[in-house]
Symmetry: C2
Subunit: 396 residues, 2 copies
């Protein structure tokens, strides 16, 4: 047995999160795509069956109150909040990430001091954030300027209304400095909006501590909520009274069943709601969040294992893959690394196809990136070593 | 046995849709709230279980292509289209009704001739449409004017950009004249947006035939898609090239996996998509639509039975309930009646509470309306007679 294989077994034996793997449905595939769609938690099928057969099928309309459907968006928001470093009452679940980016950015511009008309957007952002930012800008009389996150402090100025950044870059896996960037945005009198899609559930976020104004994120990656499970919106408590949503649907009304023709926004996180929530997807997510209630599961423990997994993967790749065959895109420094490793090679699309056929599932991001996500809740070190070994075989 | 009970049994025996009831999970409750949340179709639990256990649990990320998740919004849109009188390629499923009202209204203003700055909105609309219309107006430099649907022709003018109307009023059950009103809007050079929440799946809509420009609707009422199942957006084929969505998420991009920083909208109905679709809720809806593939089920047959059910209910109420105890809000004329009956009485909230306790489920709409929905796919005449009889008991 090679040294790295032995090391992997030792690391697995010492892994305090190893038993959490049993909470997920897995097989022989090495699943390194949990940063795109998390694996199925074992308790979700039963929970969904109860929602469908009993709550919908038997109680029908009564479930809006008796099964807690009506308040699910804010109740589940409060379950996600601790994973983001947020106190209760600031997170609400519902709609897609794109729709929440729109709410957050328009809301941010409306929170910004009068007369400011520029939105700064992470130049390497996942595309939807940029598209939605353009629309939000167009509809609020602003313009969008794309900037590298590292260049944000220098780009801030008296015209800056809002700044939209990703905590972890979806393509490179680079972790940006949320505390410092948020502080810079605040110091410039602008409003920060963070996209947490690739960080929440994988590492510390610290929304409250670091003074983040608004944030959004999806729940189907590291939170394992299932395909297209609803996204969430964080509105800092101090801003909630002034948060002015561009999508003031009836679910955000102070008295939704008053059926009033005049809109009066609800207080608190509920103000971020829009229309009727998608209950099946939302309650699958609710069940998926149960794993975070285990005493051995914490964001700190997950982050520590995430770094150990990506360190070990990079070490295995360095050892197995012929030098120069791939470039490592993800930063080596822990402070700059999310929970994914991106490798660059010209034939990345074909390589990923062969890799998937060989039972190692990552994904390809055009034009030349092999992307591997590391989900500490269910991934082991022996799998990581195997992934690197299979990858090396496909690359040679 | 009373005459009406005998009549009910005869009507049930002659009902050509009677056997469709077996496609739904029902019990002894008389469920007259299918216009709020449709009953569970018997095939849905198995379909959802397959989505969760096999498509998500086993195939995981592969299901975006192999299980057809990626194209589900337009594929399911094409299944709904015939129920709306629309040819394929014009309906896309996703997001809530409120979010789709925003897309449609902003899109409508952008389709309207330059310089028009007024949006007319049904004065009795379901509140969310009015709230969202205010936001769409504010963000496009328009103003909103509330008008009674019957007064729309007289209110149209050279400033009218768009007109948002409900085909069936959610409170009164009144059916508005979609063909005539659409023609008037078109003749005035404005853009029509119809909300079909309370009509689709219960009666003929005829979007293509009558020249409707844009339409939205939910799928959890007469389409039985389940709690919070995704809504849909219809964009008339001739407008699709110029449809300019205020929510241009990556799912509406011409090449979504190109990960381009510049937005380029897709052609066709796909342009109405936004972010990642909520697959669990969407595929529950997909299964729920199967009933419309039965050879005996058609919108025409459903409409004929709907009118027979509401006629019979009104007859039973007239016979059983003491004169003057309730007022009938829903129009008597078939051409003006949707698939619901609304009765007015001062103590409607308490009456509905007692009625539900007695096994007849309708709903209460503030301040004084008892609302009863009639879903022809699973409701029988004996149930209707029983509902009226129990209601009379609770009212005396």
């Amino acid at each position: 047995m090679s040294d790295l294989r032995e090391r992997a077994l030792e690391l697995d034996a010492a892994d305090e999160l190893a038993s959490v793997r049993a909470e997920f449905v897995l097989d022989d595939v090495v699943y390194l795509d949990g940063n795109s769609l998390g694996a199925l938690p074992v308790n979700v099928p039963g929970a969904v069956e109860d929602v469908v057969r009993r709550q919908w099928g038997e109680l029908r309309i009564r479930s809006w109150t008796e099964s807690g459907w009506w308040t699910a968006p804010e109740r589940i928001g409060d379950r996600i909040a601790p994973l983001l470093g947020a106190a209760a009452g600031q997170v609400v679940v519902g709609d897609s990430t794109s729709v929440n980016v729109f709410k957050a950015l328009v809301g941010a511009v409306r929170l910004a001091p009068e007369g400011r008309d520029e939105i700064l957007v992470d130049a390497a952002t996942f595309p939807t954030d940029g598209y939605i930012a353009e629309s939000a800008a167009r509809m609020t009389g602003c313009t969008v300027r794309a900037v590298d996150p590292g260049a944000v402090p220098g780009a801030l100025g008296p015209r800056t209304a809002a700044v939209l950044l990703n905590q972890v870059d979806y393509r490179t896996g680079r972790l940006h400095d949320l505390p410092a960037l948020t502080a810079a945005v605040r110091a410039a009198g602008a409003v920060s909006v963070w996209d947490l899609c690739h960080s929440a559930g994988a590492l510390e976020v610290g929304l409250d501590e670091h003074g983040v104004d608004l944030a959004v994120g999806c729940t189907y990656k590291f939170l394992n909520g299932g395909p297209g499970s609803p996204a969430y919106l964080y509105v800092r408590a101090e801003h909630q009274d002034r948060f002015d949503s561009p999508l003031p649907g009836w679910n955000s009304h102070a008295e939704p069943f008053g059926m009033r023709s005049a809109y009066e926004p609800a207080d608190g996180a509920v103000r971020g709601r829009v229309g009727t929530p998608d209950i099946l997807s939302m309650l699958a997510l609710d069940a998926a969040l149960d794993v975070w209630s285990r005493p051995d599961v914490s964001v700190a423990a997950v982050r520590a294992k995430s770094l150990a997994l990506t360190d070990f993967f990079l070490e295995c790749v360095g050892s197995y893959v012929p030098e120069g065959r791939v470039g490592v895109v993800t930063p080596a420094a822990h402070a700059e690394r999310g929970s994914q490793v991106a490798l660059r090679c010209a034939d990345a699309g074909e390589v990923m196809g062969r890799l998937i056929a060989a039972g190692v599932v990552g994904d390809f991001r055009a034009p030349d990136v092999l992307r591997f996500g590391f989900t500490p809740l269910y991934l082991g070190f022996a799998e990581v070593e195997r992934a690197a070994r299979v990858l090396a075989g496909e690359l040679s």
